[in-house]
C-alpha cells in the first residue's frame, strides 16, 4: 500500500529545520550587532564540524553517561495515573540528572565546543540559577573561567543558587539595568560577549538567540526525546499518544519534542506560564498571547507593547519568567504541529503538591506547569493511552519560594 503524502509534508521535513541561515519559517535567523556576526558564523562552522565528528560525539556521550548519569529513567507514575483516572502517565526523570535539571545536557555540549574552539572563558545568563549552576559546574570540571550574569532581583530571590555558583568558582555579576531579571541578564551577557569576543564563549541556556544557538541547544537536549522514544517503546511496545513539557525559552520541551516531530500520531503540548492569569497582563505566555517580533538575536513570539517595547513578565517560576521563546516553538505553533497552552501560578502549585504527595517526587516549579496541564489532559484520554511528561527539574531549589507562599519561614 502506498502512502500519499501532502505536498507540504514533502517539501518541509519537520525534523530538518532550520534552513542554512537558521530560519524556522519566518522565525529564528540572526539579529545581532555586526561585531558578533563573524563570531557566530565561526561558531556555526565549528559546531557543524563537531556534530559530525565521532570523537566529539564520543566525548559528549561519555560525559552524559558518567557525569550526568544518563539515561534518565522513564518512570510510570501509577498512583498519579490512577488518581487522574485517564491516560497512563510516564515521567521523563531529568530531575535525576547531576545538578538537578535538564540544563546540564546543553552546558556540557557547549563547553566541549568552547574548549575545542580554544576559548578559555565562558559566560552565561541565568534566571532561576539552574543554567548558571550547570554552567559553573562544567566550567569547574573543565577548568574554564566562568562569569554568570544574573538580574539583581533574581539574585535576591535565588540566594542558594547564587552561593552554589560561587562555591563552584564562578563570578556572579548582578545586573541592575532594565527590569533587573533574566532578559536584562541576557542583554548584559551579550555586552560582555561583544567586548571579549576573542577568548570568550557564550553558553546560552535555552533554544533562543542567533543561529546556530536554537539548533545547537536543541541538538544537545534532543537526548531527552531520543531516550524517551526508545524507553516508551520498550515499556509499552509503541509510541506515546501525547507529550507534555513546560515552555519558558523552551529547551526542555524541544529536547523532548524534536525526536517525535515526524510521528504524526503523537500529540504535542507545550505549557507556558499564565502567572496570575492570561487576562491579568502578569504572565509569561508569549506563544499564547504575544506577537512576533525581534529580540535577543532571533525573530519569535514576544511579550511586547504596541510600541514594540518588551514588557515585564511574571511567573511563580523564575525559569519560565522570560518574554520570548525559542523560534522553533514559534514555528511549530504556526504550522499547528504543537499546541501551546498555559496554566496559572495556582494551578502549577497544585501540580507541585500533587506529585509530591502522590508519587514522592518534588518537582521544580517549572515542571509543575507541565504536571498541572497533565491533570487536565489525562482525564480526557483513555486508560489505554500514554502520556510522557518531561519532569525537567527537581524542586529542592524552590522550597523557599513554596514555603514563603504558604507563610512558613524555614
Amino acid at each position: 500500500m502506498s502512502t500519499v503524502m501532502k505536498p507540504e509534508a514533502q517539501t518541509i521535513k519537520l525534523g530538518e529545520m532550520p534552513d542554512s541561515r537558521g530560519h524556522f519559517g519566518p522565525y529564528g535567523g540572526r539579529f545581532v550587532a555586526e561585531t558578533l556576526m563573524e563570531p557566530i558564523e565561526e561558531l556555526r562552522q565549528a559546531y557543524e564540524r563537531f556534530r559530525d565528528d565521532a570523537d566529539f560525539q564520543a566525548e559528549f556521550d561519555a560525559d552524559l553517561k558518567h557525569y550526568v548519569g544518563r539515561p534518565s529513567p522513564l518512570y510510570f507514575a501509577e498512583r498519579l495515573s490512577n488518581k487522574l483516572g485517564g491516560a497512563r502517565i510516564y515521567l521523563k526523570r531529568e530531575d535525576l540528572n547531576h545538578t538537578g535539571a535538564h540544563k546540564i545536557n546543553n552546558t556540557i555540549g557547549q563547553a566541549l565546543v568552547a574548549r575545542r574552539m580554544g576559548k578559555t572563558r565562558i559566560i552565561a545568563e541565568t534566571g532561576a540559577g539552574q543554567h548558571g549552576v550547570a554552567s559553573a559546574t562544567i566550567a569547574a570540571r573543565l577548568g574554564l573561567e566562568c562569569v554568570v550574569y544574573m538580574g539583581a532581583e533574581d539574585i535576591q530571590r535565588q540566594a542558594p543558587n547564587v552561593y552554589r555558583m560561587r562555591l563552584l568558582g564562578a563570578e556572579v555579576v548582578a545586573v541592575t539595568s532594565g527590569s533587573r531579571t533574566l532578559k536584562d541578564a541576557l542583554n548584559e551577557a551579550m555586552r560582555d560577549w561583544v567586548t571579549n569576543v576573542d577568548d570568550t564563549f557564550y553558553i546560552i541556556g535555552t533554544v533562543a538567540g542567533p543561529h546556530p544557538y536554537p539548533m545547537m541547544v536543541r541538538d544537545f537536549q534532543a537526548i531527552i526525546g531520543r531516550e524517551a522514544r526508545q524507553q516508551i517503546q520498550q515499556l509499552t511496545g509503541r509510541l506515546p499518544d501525547a507529550l507534555v513539557a513546560c515552555v519558558g525559552g523552551g529547551s526542555n520541551a524541544i529536547g523532548l519534542f524534536y525526536p517525535f516531530l515526524e510521528d504524526a500520531g503523537v500529540a504535542i503540548y507545550g505549557v507556558e506560564a499564565a502567572g496570575f492569569g492570561l487576562d491579568s497582563g502578569k504572565h509569561s505566555a508569549p506563544l499564547c498571547v504575544g506577537k512576533p517580533g525581534v529580540l535577543h538575536g532571533n525573530r519569535t513570539y514576544l511579550m511586547e507593547d504596541q510600541d514594540g517595547q518588551i514588557i515585564e513578565t511574571h511567573s511563580i517560576s523564575a525559569g519560565l519568567d522570560y518574554p520570548g521563546v525559542g523560534p522553533e516553538h514559534a514555528w511549530l505553533k504556526d504550522i499547528g504541529r504543537a499546541e501551546y497552552v498555559a496554566v496559572t501560578d495556582d494551578e502549577a502549585m497544585a501540580g507541585f503538591h500533587e506529585l509530591t504527595r502522590v508519587e514522592g517526587i518534588i518537582p521544580a516549579l517549572e515542571s509543575s506547569h507541565a504536571l498541572a496541564y497533565v491533570s487536565k489532559l489525562a482525564p480526557t484520554m483513555g486508560k489505554d493511552q500514554n502520556i510522557i511528561v518531561n519532569l525537567s527539574g527537581r524542586g529542592d531549589k524552590d522550597i523557599n519560594t513554596v514555603a514563603k507562599l504558604e507563610g512558613i519561614t524555614l
Binding site: 555586526e34 561585531t35 563573524e38 555586552r191 561583544v194 525573530r299 514576544l302 511586547e304 510600541d307 514594540g308
Partner: protein, 275 residues
C-alpha cells in the same frame, strides 16, 4: 541626491569633516529633544543621529542604556520620534537626520508604514543596530523606495567579504564601529582604526564615519584626520545625564563639547592641508 549625500559633498568641497552627535530622543524629557537638535546644529553638527529608545538596548553601554530608560519613563515611541523630526524640519530643512535604534519597534510598526511616515517627516537615514545585511533585504527595499538611506555598521571583526557585501547594501555613509564592545567603552586605538579604514575604503562607495570611543576634542581630531565623519554618542549623552533638571545647562554643555570638537577637527584638517 539625498540630504546626506548633499551634506557630504558640501563638506568635501569645503575640505571639512562631518561631526555627527547622537542623543536619545525623549531624554531627559520629550520637550527638550527638538530644541537640543537645533542647539547641536548651531554648535557645529553636520548630521544628527537620533536614538530611538528601546527597552533592551543590547549594544549600548551604561550611559545610553540609562538614556533609554529615562526616555521610556515618558513612553517615547517610534511614532513620537518621527514626529520630533517633523517638528525639527519646520526650522531646519537642510541638516540630515539619521535614526538609530533596534529592529523591534520598526518591525511592529511595519516596514512600509515606517518608511513612508519617516520619509514624509524628513528622516534621511536609518541605522538598525541588530539588523545585519543578511536579514535586511525587505527593510532596505522599503527604505530605498522612499529615499531613506540604510546605514550599516562595519566592525573590527568584519572580514573583507562581509565588508564588501555591507558596502553594496549601504547608502549615505558607512558606520565603522571602532572597537569591540558597547557604546561608551574604552578609548579607541587610532592606528588599528586607520588600518581597518583602508580595508573598508577598497569597497565603500560612500563616506566613512567612525563611532564608539570618541570622548573629547583630541580623539575627535584624531578620527577626523583619517575618516570622513566623527560620531559622538555617550560623551554627548553624559552631558544630559549629569545635568538632569537643568535644561539650560544640558544645552550649554552639549554645545561646549561640540564646539571644542568642531574647532579641533577643523584645525586638524586645515593643518593636514598645509602639510
Amino acid at each position: 541626491m539625498s540630504r546626506i549625500a548633499e551634506r557630504f559633498a558640501a563638506l568635501q568641497s569645503a575640505k571639512r569633516k562631518a561631526l555627527i552627535p547622537f542623543i536619545t530622543a525623549g531624554d531627559p524629557q520629550p520637550s527638550l529633544t527638538v530644541p537640543l537638535m537645533h542647539a547641536m546644529v548651531e554648535a557645529g553638527a553636520d548630521i544628527l543621529e537620533l536614538g530611538v529608545p528601546f527597552s533592551d538596548p543590547m549594544a549600548e553601554g551604561p550611559v545610553i542604556q540609562a538614556a533609554c530608560e529615562r526616555a521610556l519613563v515618558h513612553h517615547v515611541s517610534l511614532l513620537q520620534v518621527i514626529a520630533m523630526v517633523q517638528a525639527f524640519r519646520k526650522r531646519d530643512k537642510d541638516t540630515p537626520v539619521v535614526l538609530m535604534g533596534y529592529l523591534n519597534p520598526v518591525e511592529i510598526m511595519g516596514y512600509r508604514a515606517f518608511a513612508q511616515q519617516a520619509s514624509a517627516a524628513g528622516v534621511d537615514g536609518l541605522i538598525t543596530v541588530d539588523l545585519p545585511p543578511e536579514e535586511a533585504h525587505d527593510l532596505v527595499a522599503e527604505l530605498k523606495e522612499v529615499g531613506i538611506d540604510p546605514v550599516f555598521l562595519v566592525a573590527p571583526t568584519s572580514h573583507d567579504e562581509r565588508i564588501k557585501s555591507i558596502c553594496e547594501l549601504d547608502s549615505g555613509f558607512v558606520y565603522y564601529v571602532s572597537l569591540k564592545g558597547v557604546t561608551g567603552a574604552h578609548t579607541l586605538d587610532i592606528n588599528a582604526v586607520k588600518q581597518k579604514l583602508s580595508e573598508i575604503r577598497k569597497h565603500a562607495h560612500t563616506p566613512i564615519g567612525v563611532g564608539f570611543g570618541i570622548k573629547d576634542a583630541t580623539t575627535a581630531a584624531q578620527v577626523a584626520d583619517i575618516a570622513d565623519a566623527v560620531v559622538v554618542g555617550s560623551a554627548v549623552v553624559k552631558c544630559v545625564a549629569e545635568n538632569i533638571g537643568h535644561d539650560d545647562k544640558i544645552t550649554d554643555e552639549i554645545q561646549n563639547l561640540l564646539r571644542s570638537m568642531r574647532a579641533a577637527m577643523d584645525k586638524q584638517t586645515a593643518s593636514a592641508r598645509v602639510a
